[in-house]
Structures are given as structure tokens and as C-alpha cells.
């Protein structure tokens, strides 16, 4: 047992570092830093997406025959860690991490050829039609229906919490194709083009004032039968495959540790108001220390899962564990960040974006401007991709066998 990197892995790390040093544009890094939402907007994200695609690294976690890199799990980890350290934006997961791997695993040759290159190139922008107003944690109760009409499906229903639907030209949907069988067995997985009269997108504004999510109304929306992934009734199996990728598709700890490093630097220069810096304040120092211990333990938990995957053992419900832990660390980091800024942490700008020439001036330290918005948006970590309550149910049932 050891934590050492091999010589090849060390060389790979140098290659990644060189690439990030020369290829990550300053305005992209700055945009990511000043984005209070969960994902960066396409004006920042797609720039970085295309740079990665030009390098051949954008779909690094896909199988090689689908355009992946063939990296080992350890190489993926190194890449993600270096990206986190460099301040690269977290790209939208919807195409690359959610529907992409589904098409790789369940799609036909024709579907792979049609959809995968456009995801890699960033020319198709995807959103996810899973949750519905009456079906959140109880996803299998979903009511959106699709009926066959010749060589097309006609889809009626509504999807909600649809991240970046207002930017997307495709939505992947769980739909009910059979109302007679057990609820999980009647679900299918459809790809539906957004640019048609039967699809309407209405914004949902978050507590922080951000527009990231939407409600999508499907009212006689049409899609070709060729755009169904897998067989009719296979949707729930695909849905679970996708959710495991959503929860555990990437490593959480590197970004959390970088955020904690950043907090520590900030505390080191932030005035305590009475005597020296906040970094010397025992209450603040203790909170940072506890967060660091949690995040370091999580990093090792993630590496243990990675080692299992590398040896061909299934990861499965472990992704629920890391999702549960990382969400809560994330929220605590954002809470501490806000506290470090004192009164300045209470500013909540009403305009977006907070980067570029039109951005309003920050009050105090520039990080203070996004602190409150980030704290509020951070509440979503314990809700999306299955709430913490759902993750605990999954762990209780499938790991603890309760």
C-alpha cells in the first residue's frame, strides 16, 4: 500500500501542468472565479471546452472507441486535480458526463456517430429532462408520456430544475412509454431536439438571483424513434447508470481542497478588525482545519474507490457516499467564505455576469462579491443529483442492507 505516483504518472502530471500553464486563458480562469452558480455559462465554458477538444482531452473519461483518451483512472484523477489547482472552470456535465457516457454504453453505431462528435466539439449543448414537478426524489413516478406516431414519438409533460435548458439545443428525457407495467419498467430514454414548437422553456430564478435552471414544457414535442437510447422500457436502467455517473463521475476532493487553500490564504490577509489577520483567529483557524481534515479524508476515500475501479471492481453505490460527503463540505466552505468577508460578505449583486467590462464594482475584496450568492446557490448541492436524504436511503439499502 502506498500513495506514490509512478514515473509515468509523474511525467503525465508535468504534461498536464505544461498544458494548463500555456492553454488556460486568463479570462476563462477569471470568469470561473467570478461565477456564483454551479456551472459556468457557455461564454466561458465553451471556450475552455473547445481548447480541451483541440487537445483531444475533452472527453477523457469516455471509452477510447468513442473518442476518449484511454487514460487510466489515476491519470484522470491527476488531470482533474491539476485542472482544479489551475482554476480551470468546471464544465457543464450534461453532455460530457451524463448523456455522452450513456450513448457510449447503450447507443447504436449510428447514434454514436450522430451525437458524440457534436458533444466533443461543443456544437450540441445538452440539458437533462429527469425531475418533474411531482417527481423529485421519487423519480420513478415520473408522468411525462411519449406515444408512438409512425416513426416518431410525441412527448407531453413537464420537466423541472433543467440546468441550462435556455442554452441547450437538445434535451435527454426520461419518459413513460408504458403506463400498464411496474413504474420503473414503463420508462424509456429519449433524445428530443429543443428547437421546435412543442418545447417551451421558462426560467426559474434562484434565491441568489441566478438563472441556471428552468422548467421545460413538452407539449406535443416530437422526436424520431431513432433518438431513443436502448429499448423501450430500458430507461430506468439507463437512468441509474447516468445518476451514478452524475454523483461519482468525477473527483470532488481536488476542487474542495483548492477552495480550502484559497480560504486559508484569504484568512491570512483578511483583517480581524481588532488584532492582526483572521488567520490568527482561533475560531477561524479551527474551522479551516476541520474542513481540511474532512476534505483530505474524502480525497483518500475517492482514491480508494479509484483503486477499486482500476482493478475492475464495481464502484456502484460508493458514488452516493462521496456525493453525500462532498456536498456538505462544499456548503461549509461557502459558509466559511461568507463569514470571512464580514459585512462585505452580505453584498448580493443583482446583475450578471460578475466578470467582464459590465460587471459591477466589488465592495471590499473581489471575492466578497460572489460569497453570498455562492453560499445560497450552494444549497443545491444537497438536492440535485438525488438529495442527501436519497443518498442516505441508497447507502442504507444497498451498502448496509438495512
Amino acid at each position: 500500500m502506498d500513495l506514490d505516483l509512478t514515473k509515468d504518472e509523474l511525467e503525465f502530471r508535468e504534461e498536464v501542468r505544461d498544458f494548463l500553464r500555456t492553454s488556460l486563458p486568463d479570462h476563462v480562469r477569471d470568469g470561473a472565479k467570478r461565477t456564483p452558480g454551479v456551472f459556468v455559462e457557455p461564454d466561458i465554458g465553451l471556450v475552455w471546452h473547445r481548447i480541451l477538444n483541440d487537445k483531444g482531452w475533452v472527453a477523457y473519461h469516455w471509452p477510447e472507441d468513442c473518442g476518449g483518451t484511454g487514460w487510466t483512472p489515476m491519470q484522470r484523477y491527476i488531470f482533474e486535480k491539476e485542472c482544479a489547482i489551475a482554476g480551470a472552470p468546471a464544465l457543464s456535465v450534461l453532455g460530457l458526463r451524463l448523456v455522452g457516457p450513456v450513448i457510449c454504453a447503450f447507443g447504436t453505431r449510428e447514434q454514436k456517430d450522430r451525437f458524440l462528435p457534436a458533444i466533443r466539439a461543443g456544437t450540441d449543448y445538452w440539458c437533462q429532462g429527469y425531475s418533474e414537478p411531482q417527481s423529485g426524489s421519487d423519480l420513478a413516478s415520473l408522468r411525462t408520456r411519449a406515444r408512438r406516431d409512425g416513426e416518431e414519438y410525441v412527448v407531453d409533460g413537464s420537466k423541472i430544475w433543467t440546468t441550462h435548458a435556455h442554452h441547450a439545443n437538445w434535451i435527454f428525457c426520461l419518459v413513460r412509454t408504458d403506463g400498464e407495467v411496474k413504474k420503473q419498467a414503463g420508462i424509456s430514454f429519449l433524445l428530443v431536439p429543443m428547437d421546435q414548437p412543442g418545447v417551451t422553456v421558462t426560467p426559474i430564478i434562484t434565491m441568489a438571483g441566478d438563472h441556471e435552471v428552468n422548467q421545460v414544457f413538452l407539449d406535443g414535442a416530437r422526436t424520431s424513434v431513432d433518438n431513443r437510447i436502448g429499448e423501450e422500457g430500458q430507461g430506468w436502467t439507463i437512468a441509474k447508470f447516468l445518476l451514478e455517473n452524475e454523483r461519482g463521475g468525477s473527483f470532488h476532493a481536488p476542487r474542495l481542497i483548492r477552495a480550502i487553500d484559497h480560504l486559508e490564504q484569504l484568512a491570512g490577509v483578511a483583517p480581524s478588525g481588532h488584532n492582526g489577520s483572521l488567520g490568527g483567529d482561533i475560531q477561524i483557524a479551527t474551522r479551516i482545519a476541520k474542513l481540511r481534515l474532512e476534505a483530505e479524508a474524502l480525497e483518500t476515500t475517492e482514491l480508494r474507490i479509484l483503486a477499486d475501479i482500476a482493478k475492475g471492481r464495481p464502484a456502484g453505490p460508493q458514488t452516493s457516499l462521496t456525493k453525500l460527503i462532498s456536498s456538505e463540505i462544499h456548503q461549509r466552505i461557502d459558509g466559511l467564505a461568507m463569514d470571512l468577508h464580514g459585512y462585505d460578505g452580505l453584498q448580493l449583486p443583482t446583475v450578471r455576469p460578475l466578470y467582464g467590462n459590465e460587471a459591477p464594482p466589488a465592495i471590499g475584496d473581489e471575492d466578497a462579491q460572489v460569497a453570498a450568492a455562492r453560499y445560497l446557490n450552494s444549497r443545491a448541492w444537497t438536492v440535485f443529483g438525488g438529495s442527501s436524504e436519497v443518498q442516505k436511503n441508497i447507502i442504507a439499502k444497498t451498502v448496509l442492507r438495512l
Binding site: 421519487d138 434565491m207 478588525g273 453584498q347 449583486p349 459591477p360 445560497l376 444549497r379
Partner: protein
């Protein structure tokens, strides 16, 4: 011993409840989009209800309410998730003016004739309340202030100065560079840079200033209790209605136990506010800010927890700006830091113990 409301207290609470009505999110958004995020017309209604006079001594033309009376008002405003800055632009300036013996200004403030903002925080000094960089220079003042709540709408600015002074500055006085910015509860604040700004300067004895800080801390805690009550009530109603897995989510024990913890926290917070308010007459000026700091830290922790649980139990809906719970949580977050966050207030309470 008696915890019952008297007739006047009951009447005031009912009046506030009727004035605020049910939380109207669309109306809130519209008000926040207006210039300054609030309106003078609505402020006049607050004055006409007598809520400002209640905070002023009888000798200066007020009603001279006790801190218990005021805490009940704050709680009722919190319960209705009021958009009105009664605490920061009503009680605080009125009591500062009274502490500086400015009877004329108190009179103008309680009738709603003037709207004032208090400039007590200085950049890079976190929650320290002793003015250091802002000072009097003859009949002028100079320095910098931040987090001046309500400044964009204020006719008069009350600026604390080094050496236990308070400056009264008119809105359009020369030498003020004001930068307005929105804060988390949707209201507007400003930073002030003051360069040879003409002002009326009065003594603000430290003991009196400390008393005012203590009052605001206690009333912030009382408002948080009201806000938490509404977040709790709304959540209790929601878990009874929201169906998942073929049952109301409130039937799940995992949520029931957490709601019971919220209920316990709420009752404890309410007790802390009442206890501290009733200690006011027997607490000296030096000890009052300390007792109220402890109360505010305690209530801040309890009500923040209730707010975060309310958001979590509302799931996706809880993330939106369309529910009263979100607006209430954001107000709690502001009050939790007003005159010191939990760390600061706990330290204040512990140090003097």
C-alpha cells in the same frame, strides 16, 4: 412571573399582522426593483402605525416602549417577513439620535418626516464598533464607512466618529462619495467616503452607544425568531402536502426528527429573547451589549439552522426566489451579522463573563 402579552402588546402584534398580510413575493420583487429598493410612502405607514414612536423616549415625543414591547414588534415583523427596515433605519437612528440628545431629530424620525441611515461600520474593521478612521475636523468630518444600510434612501446620515462623537450629515452635503450596492435581503446599502463633509457634531457617550448596540442586537434576535417561526410553519405545512413514494414526506421519520430538532431550537431561541429582554431594566450599560451578544449568537445559530433545514426540506422549490422561506433566510443571514456574527458575539459574551 408572567409571560402573557398585555392588551397593548396584543393589539400591536395584531395590527402588524394585518398591515403585513400574507407574504406576497411578486410585490416584494416589485418593491426591490424600485429606486432604493424601498419606498418613503410605505415608511410613512410604518410611522403612522406608531412603530417608530414606540422606540423613542416619551421625553422626546415618543411612546417610550419597553424593550419587551419592541422585541414583540420585531418578532411580529419577522413573522410577516416584513420588507420594512424598522430596525436598521427606524430603531437604530432614533436611539442614536436620542443617545446624542438630538431631540429635534428624534421628533423628525418618529413622524416619518425624515428617513435616516446609520454609518457605524468601517472598512477592514469587521464588527468593531469603535470609530477609528472617521473623525471630526472642525465643523467637518472625514473618513470612510461601509455597510450603511438604507443609505440610498436616507435624508440624513448618522455617522459615528472617533472620540465618542456622532455626526449628523445631510444627504446632499458636499464631500460625500457614496457607492450604493444591493445586500442579501434585497435592500440597498452604501459605502461612504467622506472628504471635509460639513456636519453637525454631537457627543455620543460610549455607555449610551453601547446600550443602543445591545438594543439592536436583542431586536435583531427577536426578528430572527419571528422569521424562523414562519420558515418552520411553512415547512411543516409543506411536508404535510408534498407527496413522494406514495406518502406525504412528513410521514418519514428521517424528516420528523429533524423537524422536532427545529421546533426545539425555535422554542429555545424564543425563550432566550424573552429572558434577555426582561433582564434589560436590571442590566447596566456595560453588561447589556454582552448579554445581548450572547442572546444573538444563540438565536442566530438556531434560526440559521431552521432556515437551512426549511430550504433543504423544500427540495428544488427551496432553491428558488419564489418562496417566503428563501426571503426569510436571507434576512436572517443579514441580522445574524448585524453588530457581530456568531463568532464575534460569542467572543464578546465569553470575554466579559
Amino acid at each position: 412571573m408572567n409571560f402573557d402579552l398585555d392588551e397593548d402588546q396584543q393589539l400591536t402584534r395584531d395590527t402588524i399582522g394585518r398591515f403585513l398580510g400574507p407574504v406576497d413575493i411578486a410585490a416584494r420583487h416589485a418593491m426591490r426593483k424600485a429606486e432604493g429598493g424601498y419606498s418613503h410612502a410605505r415608511w410613512q405607514e410604518i410611522a403612522d402605525l406608531g412603530l417608530l414612536a414606540l422606540a423613542a423616549p416619551e421625553a422626546m415625543g415618543g411612546i417610550g416602549g419597553t424593550i419587551v414591547d419592541l422585541a414583540l414588534v420585531a418578532e411580529a415583523l419577522g413573522k410577516g417577513v416584513a420588507i420594512d427596515p424598522w430596525l436598521e433605519n427606524g430603531v437604530l437612528p432614533i436611539r442614536l439620535a436620542a443617545a446624542a440628545s438630538d431631540d429635534a431629530l428624534v421628533g423628525e424620525l418618529v413622524t416619518g418626516a425624515k428617513f435616516a441611515a446609520a454609518a457605524f461600520a468601517e472598512p477592514a474593521r469587521r464588527y468593531e464598533t469603535e470609530a477609528v478612521t472617521t473623525r471630526a475636523e472642525g465643523g467637518h468630518i472625514a473618513g470612510a464607512k461601509t455597510f450603511v444600510l438604507g443609505a440610498p434612501l436616507a435624508d440624513t446620515l448618522l455617522v459615528t466618529l472617533a472620540g465618542n462623537k456622532l455626526a449628523k450629515v445631510e444627504r446632499d452635503a458636499t464631500g460625500i462619495v457614496r457607492q450604493d450596492y444591493p445586500v442579501i435581503d434585497g435592500s440597498n446599502a452604501a459605502t461612504l467616503d467622506l472628504h471635509r463633509t460639513p456636519a453637525e457634531i454631537a457627543d455620543l457617550p460610549d455607555a449610551k452607544f453601547q446600550r443602543v448596540i445591545g438594543d439592536v442586537r436583542l431586536l435583531a434576535a427577536a426578528e430572527m425568531v419571528g422569521l424562523a417561526q414562519t420558515m418552520f410553519d411553512d415547512t411543516l405545512a409543506y411536508v404535510g402536502e408534498r407527496q413522494q413514494f406514495g406518502a406525504a414526506i412528513g410521514s418519514f421519520q428521517a424528516l420528523q426528527h429533524r423537524l422536532v430538532e427545529c421546533y426545539a431550537a425555535l422554542e429555545q431561541a424564543r425563550s432566550m429573547v424573552l429572558r434577555t429582554a426582561m433582564l434589560d431594566p436590571t442590566t447596566d450599560d456595560a453588561n447589556w451589549p454582552r448579554l445581548t451578544a450572547g442572546a444573538k449568537a444563540f438565536v442566530g445559530e438556531a434560526t440559521t439552522k431552521i432556515g437551512l433545514e426549511a430550504v433543504q426540506m423544500h427540495g428544488g422549490m427551496g432553491q428558488t426566489d419564489e418562496l417566503a422561506i428563501g426571503h426569510a433566510l436571507k434576512r436572517v443571514m443579514l441580522l445574524d451579522k448585524l453588530f457581530g456574527d456568531q463568532d464575534h458575539c460569542l467572543r464578546t459574551y465569553a470575554r466579559a463573563a
